[in-house]
Each structure stands twice: as structure tokens, then as C-alpha cells.
Symmetry: C2
Subunit: 306 residues, 2 copies
């Protein structure tokens, strides 16, 4: 059984870390605004799997004070990734694995370059969850996590972590091709995150309005074509499947919509700019995605100006 350190105790990190702790793992949590609350009152999780409360939590307000752990779960917003290397450096020992639970393209590659000898892994979280308040995670639906590594030699580490997850009521799959898994995740994130902000609505309204439904489909088709340009095959039927999946989802506001509504920066860099750049570098312009991205930038520029 490995020990874990959760960097970013939000809706995602708070949920997965709490499940691991609930099932007996040593888990240290790094929290910012919630630090004092969690130290005093612990962590609470509302979940269809059963609500629970961790009364005594190993929580820290600075990475410098945290004990080392076998696995770092990176669950901060990517908008702070400029400071990520510096932040986690004190916690990265010779064999420490770094598992990125963030969304977007190119994050693992950046961290692998900073820590070339460590296992750097990517975890795609298929979860609907949100913060209900300080130290309070509301798990709404799903929760599966798929994990892969950049380097083949890290496959055993991926297996061990997946095993820990599966033993903690977190359904975990192993993916062989991490970039492919990242693009498959983008197939949902690129259309829905941005469009919910642009149109100021949830997934349900998007799917039920003919024009936005057409936009979603076109964006997805472009992501498939963008992936293809990067040498990654996503079968065409994935588009219809992903739309059918979203049709059945409980009406949902993606994290970018919540960030926007709460005047927090949006995760545009890794979800939009990088994939656009990567596909364009291989000769394919995702022109509709570009339009959405530039509109989101406009919104961000307007927010800053206010």
C-alpha cells in the first residue's frame, strides 16, 4: 500500500484523496484557503457511494512542511502550473511518482522534463464533483480514472496505483497510450467546457438546443481530426457515443463554467492553446475550436479589464 500526497484539495483531489484515506492509505493533503477548516473539522464527502467524514486529516498549508509520499496526486488548477515545479520539488524524492489529475495536453511532458528520472503519470478523471464549501466535496456522479505513463518502464507503478484505487472504490483502468487517452478526454472537454461558458448554460441546454448541438458535434469532429493529425486514431463513432453519453448525463456545469462564474481564471492554456498548437504544428487547423478559444480569451480579457 502506497502513501499519497494530494496537491490541491478541491473537488477532484479532495474526492480521490479522501477515498484513499477512507480505505486505509496514508494521505497528506495540501490545502490553501481550506487549510484551517480542514485541520479543525476534517474532510466531508457526500457521494452516491455513501457519505463519509474524515475527522482527523493530515493537512498542510505549504508543500515545504509536508512529509514525502510515494505518489503525488496533482489536482490543482492548471492555471497555476507556472509555479508547479517549484511547489512540488521539496516532495519529489528519488522514486516519487507524480500522477497528474489535471485536464489538457502537454502537462506530463513538462513535468517529465523537470523530473526526468521520476515516473510521471497522467490520470484522466471521469467524474462530476464540486466543492460544497470548505472541506466539503459533493460527488455527483461517475468517478472512473484511467491512468497511463509517458515511459514504458513506469508501467509497474501505474499498475500499483490502479490497484490502490480499485481497492478504494475508485474504478481505475490502465491506458497504454497516454497521449491518446489525453485526446480522448479532450473530445469532451474542448467542446463542453468552453461552450458552457460561451453560451452561459449547462450541458443539458446545449444538448437540447439544435444550434448548440450542431456546434458540439462540429467541435468534436475537429478534435478527432486534430488528434488524427497528431497520429492518434479516435474512431468516428466516438463523436456520436460521446454525445449520447452527454444526453443522458445529469445537467452539468463543467469546471470551466464554475471558474468563470466565480471570476476565477479559466484553464485555457492546456485545454485549448496547446491542442490547437499541436494540431496546427502537424498541419491541421481546428478552426472552430480556434473560434471558441478566442472568444474565451475575449471573455477573460474583459473580466480582467473590469
Amino acid at each position: 500500500m502506497k502513501s499519497y500526497a494530494v496537491i490541491g484539495t478541491g473537488a477532484v483531489g479532495g474526492y480521490y484523496g479522501s477515498k484513499l484515506a477512507q480505505h486505509g492509505h496514508t494521505v497528506h493533503f495540501l490545502a490553501r484557503s481550506d487549510y484551517s477548516f480542514i485541520r479543525e473539522k476534517g474532510l466531508r464527502v457526500d457521494s452516491p457511494l455513501g457519505d463519509f467524514h474524515l475527522a482527523k486529516v493530515s493537512v498542510f498549508s505549504s508543500s515545504r512542511e509536508m512529509p514525502q509520499a510515494d505518489v503525488l496526486l496533482i489536482a490543482l488548477k492548471t492555471t497555476g502550473n507556472g509555479r508547479l515545479k517549484e511547489m512540488i520539488s521539496p516532495m519529489v524524492g528519488r522514486n516519487t511518482a507524480i500522477l497528474i489529475l489535471q485536464n489538457g495536453l502537454g502537462i506530463e511532458e513538462e513535468l517529465q522534463a523537470s523530473f526526468p528520472d521520476n515516473p510521471v503519470l497522467g490520470g484522466m478523471c471521469f467524474i462530476c464533483s464540486r466543492k460544497g464549501g470548505p472541506g466539503h466535496v459533493i460527488h455527483q456522479d461517475y468517478g472512473r480514472i484511467t491512468i497511463g505513463s509517458l515511459k514504458k518502464e513506469d508501467a509497474p507503478m501505474v499498475e500499483e496505483i490502479a490497484s490502490d484505487m480499485n481497492g478504494s472504490e475508485i474504478p481505475a483502468d490502465i491506458v497504454k497510450d497516454l497521449p491518446e487517452a489525453r485526446w480522448r478526454k479532450l473530445l469532451w472537454n474542448i467542446p463542453y467546457n468552453g461552450l458552457c461558458v460561451q453560451l452561459d448554460c449547462n450541458t443539458d441546454r446545449i444538448m437540447k438546443t439544435p444550434s448548440s448541438r450542431e456546434i458540439i458535434q462540429r467541435l468534436m469532429e475537429e478534435v478527432v481530426a486534430g488528434a488524427a493529425a497528431c497520429g492518434i486514431t479516435i474512431e468516428e463513432e466516438a463523436v456520436a457515443k460521446m454525445m449520447a453519453f452527454t444526453d443522458k448525463m445529469t445537467p452539468y456545469e463543467p469546471s470551466m463554467k464554475l471558474d468563470y462564474d466565480n471570476n476565477r481564471p479559466m484553464e485555457l492554456e492546456y485545454i485549448y492553446r496547446r491542442p490547437l498548437e499541436e494540431a496546427a504544428g502537424k498541419g491541421y487547423e481546428m478552426r472552430s475550436v480556434w473560434m471558441l478559444y478566442k472568444h474565451l480569451l475575449f471573455i477573460e480579457e474583459s473580466q480582467k479589464a473590469e
Copy 2:
């Protein structure tokens, strides 16, 4: 000197009709909501060329009651074009010329099909004007009109009307190729009309924000490519010129933005759907324009649902 009938006494029809009347032409006006006001108090125009007031105006609330005229100026919103043929039929005699002052693609062709023997002309109005209230037009800037015909045999009619305009302080040019002139007008209308609605701002903010400036440029480049697919050459430099022109413009809210703000239907059919369809029919998809169009449809569908 020809007589005129203005169908739609708004910011455009009210201005041009009043200028013609001010310079001695017989002008009949068709008005809806402003009818009683204009009949009692006349038409007032505020303009950099000099404010003026027409105290006694030949105004009608129904086309059936209007006297025939040599030239019909069609200045209604295109959103009502489904009823246009029926509305103007009583006024179209054997030689009546029909001059379309509306924006968008394919309108002249539709009317020419309805009235195959009449001169059907298109006028591109480069004017910033708006309604200030009932019977009150505020002319802000510009005013040039360029006129062309679908059929070559109507060239003399175009010349006569241009001459009437030029004699009424309306700078008027003649264009040889009406479809080309329509596409050139779309080079401004497609980007700015829709984007001012989508981003909820005026031309000034669009031009001063880096991301929306990029969007405008891409939309214009697509319109140039769309026109090219339809066999119409717009030189590449037209994009930079049009942007430089808009940079210098007084901050402006295009008519579509005013329609949207006042909960009126937007002119999506002829400014967006037709050009998209025409270019796609010739093998070129204006993908960014399509994204903008679908977003505008979403807005319209949302307005209706409210």
C-alpha cells in the same frame, strides 16, 4: 426627376427618402408603428450635413393605399421578406424599378424571380444611422450608396437613380457587378454585425481587444475565400483596409446589435445562411462564419424561449 416610394421608414429608408424629398422629389413613405406620428408631425433628420424637418409627408400605413411610384426603395428588415412580394405587388407597375437597400445575399435574385420584367436593383448603403424615436432619424456618419442591377439592360435606370441621389446630397456610385458588390458589403457585415451581438459590445471594443481583433480578421479572410469560391475576386488587401477603416470609425453598434438589444429578430438569413450556403455549394466551407452563425441562432432560440 423620378418619384419614389420608401417601403420601410426606418434609419435607412427614412434617411434616404427624406433626402430625396428635401431635394424636391415626390416621395411616398410606408410606415408601420410611426405612421400616425409622421402624419401629424412629419419627419425629422439630424445629420452632419445639416438637420432638417419635413413637415408635410406623404405617409401611408398600408402598401395598398399608396400611389404608384417610379422607384420602390425597399428598406424593411429582411426578416419580413417572406411577405415582401405580396406587400409590394400593388405598387409594381410595368416599369416600376425595385431598389433593394437591404443587406445580404440573394435578395435581388428572389425579387427578380417574382417580377421578371421589372428592373430589380441592389443598393449597398454605407451609412451609420439609427432611429432616435418616432419619425426621427439620427444620421451619424457616411451615407454613400452604390447601385447595380442584375440585368445589363437596366443600366440606364441605375444611372438615372444614381443621378437623382447625387442631386440630393446622397453620394452614389454605380457598380458593374452586383454580386461582387454584395460580397464586398458582406466583408464588413458578416464579421461586425454578428460579433457585436456575440460579444455584446461595439466595434471599438472589438478592434481594441486582441482576441476579437483576430476573430474579425479570420472572419474577413473567410469571406474573401467564400467570395472567391463563388467566382468573385476580392483582393487580399481589402481585409487590412476594412480593418483600418473600422479602426477610425466612431464607436458603432451595427443594426443587428440594436435588433438584438431591442429583442427584435436578427437578419440571419441573408447575411449568414445564404452566403454560407452559396460558398458551401461551391465547395468552400466558411467554418468560422458558421460558428458565429450557429451561436447567433442559439441566441435567437433562447430569446424565443424566454
